[in-house]
């Protein structure tokens, strides 16, 4: 059990999610993909010109 799965199992308990053992490999795999995506976003320097506000966008 790696760190990601340890985190995921703890978070699931906290949220009251009962995840069947057979589902864990898929859930952890998708969580890993999300982690990779989040890291890729985190790496962007938002102080570059263009605006660095954290306002939730969407209202065009």
């Amino acid at each position: 059990v790696d760190e990601l799965e340890t985190y995921a199992r703890a978070a699931a308990r906290l949220l009251g999610l009962e995840i069947e053992e057979a589902w864990w490999p898929g859930v952890v795999r998708h969580l890993g993909v999300l982690g990779d995506n989040a890291a890729r976003v985190e790496a962007v320097d938002l102080t570059e010109p263009g605006g660095a506000g954290a306002r939730i966008p969407g209202q065009a």
Partner: protein
Amino acid sequence: MSPAGEDAVAIAGEVRAGRVSAAAVAERALEAIAAGDEVLGSFTAVLAERARADARRVDGLVEAGEDPGPLAGVPFAVKNLFDVAGEVTVAGSKISAGDPPAAADAEAVVRLSRAGAVLVGLLNMDEYAYGFTTENAHYGPCRNPHDPERVAGGSSGGSGAAVAAGFVPLTLGSDTNGSVRVPAALCGVYGLRPTYGRISCRGMFPFCDTLDTVGPLAASVRDLAASFAVLHGFDPGDPTSADRPGEDPADLEGGGIGGLRLALADGYFARGGDPAALAAAGELAEALGVSRRITIPRAGEARAGAMVITAVEGAHHHRRSLATRPGDFDPMTRDRFLAGALAPAGAYLQAQAFREWFRARMARVFEEVDVVIAPATPFVAPLVGQREAVVDGETVQTQPYLGVYTQPLSFSGLPVLAAPVRTADGLPLGVQLVAGHFQEAALLRVAAELEARGLTGVAEVAAPWR
């Protein structure tokens, strides 16, 4: 095209003139669906009774000499995440199938019906719109009319297939990450993702509130324009609706591309796809004499951010069902929603912060150009059940990878039109036309020019499945 080979505008013209009745048009659509959809699986419900009643109402207006609306008698169908009065909004799920029927039509359905269009049914989709192939575990896969061994795309797969098959000339889908554009491309029809907030989402089952849009799929550019004309506009009942004046329908009817600054997207959008998919965009640009190239900044990161936001917001909507009946989700959906539920809040917030940065950068791009041309999907429709594909020598997961070119563009809330082109092997592909916020008219002008020159268009389906 419709079973009679006509697009929506042609049908409405005939009905409005009294040369054909809306009732007859509706019956033809119902017959075509009954004859052909058993193989394709594009419809999950056919609303014959409502269609006949709506058609009678339209015919009554024509007989009384009253205006039946610009889409009089046009048969249409909607993705089954739109509320339709008296029907359960299943949103492709087993879980929501137990909900009570909707009390009223979704706003988009109201607007089309008010314009005289006749609703004939509800369409197949990926569960809760989370997918790009419409291989639905509960309602079966939606197959591609050009080759039933292949998927129709998703998540609005039924919406693409029903138009391509000629069952109806007009459908509604929703587009969060590409769910109108991917099926439009793979089924070879036109599709429009409007500017975020441009068409009311009221009465549409939410997937990801800060990315969701409603979009039409159609058999011709003028059908897209005619439907967009009646669909768009402020709705105070939708908190995401943009409060700004509507377009004059006359401004949506083409008019050539003179004065428009066009460019072909390079960098991210010029790699990572099959040669045919990349060539399609380049060939259209060349045919229009477009030599300018433009780089969409940080497109890969934009796709990554869209994936984070989608998973987290989507999971949030389903948190109760994830806790109480996770086994009732489609397995392909469940694992991703569960992962989204477990993702830390900081990842979501940073993705939203980056999104604001990206929107500002994209606004700068559209200070320099008016319309950008880009591929819509990395390859033609995969086979039903195909999980992997090889692109540039690398193995990719087919399902999520279908959104590689659509997701970065949705992330900024820009309007995007998918136009169909045909490959050498006869399967459709699509090209995306992207414009600045609220510039749908520019997209329709370019698309109309491409269609008029025969560079894009809906291909006839051989229909061996009939």
